[in-house]
Subunit: 127 residues, 2 copies
Amino acid sequence: MSFLDEVPWNGDGLIAAVAQDAKSGRVLTVAWMNREALKETSERGEAVYWSRSRRKLWRKGEESGHVQKVREVRLDCDADAILLKVEQVGGIACHTGRESCFFRKLEDGRWVTTDPVLKDPSLIYTK
Amino acid sequence: MSFLDEVPWNGDGLIAAVAQDAKSGRVLTVAWMNREALKETSERGEAVYWSRSRRKLWRKGEESGHVQKVREVRLDCDADAILLKVEQVGGIACHTGRESCFFRKLEDGRWVTTDPVLKDPSLIYTK
């Protein structure tokens, strides 16, 4: 039996995937994987997700160059979430040009942006 | 407008929530929140989730005592995931008695349990 068979894919055939920077411990992104994405992630050693909006495999970094090199793949107790520990190429995980997608913090009942843009997205996505 | 209105709750009225230990950086759990759970989390300063299996609010630690004291609440770029930085009371987040729910690691195509049980679950859930 493959490790892929132990994942109880949800009704859409997906599992939530958290990417964490292996060195800093910062949580970078939450995305989704289908069976093919998890298989390819394990084979390539680079994060591959399923884009729900584009309905296709999303090889993280394919446009931005901000590849996530996978150091560890973990599964949670009820097997409904994956944790990737990654080396984030370029130090930027977010399409907004920030290190992490979690750049907003709840302060006094408001979402406040706390993180700087490290690189202008127009310089990241030049296609 | 409330910060709750800025969350595009999914078709089931939920958002994914990642809990991370504020000190060690370890990712502890991935769970789900509905509007009421996020509201109560922000008001109580303790993690409250929505249990999809039991279909009710799940005040983390209500049975186990393993409350998650919330130090930070973050929202990701497309607002479909919440990150909680927490102080994990008892040092145990998982119902199996382990620190983290992510106690299995992919090694050579198999999920291998890497983390010890810190406390026998029968001693945690005594009701």
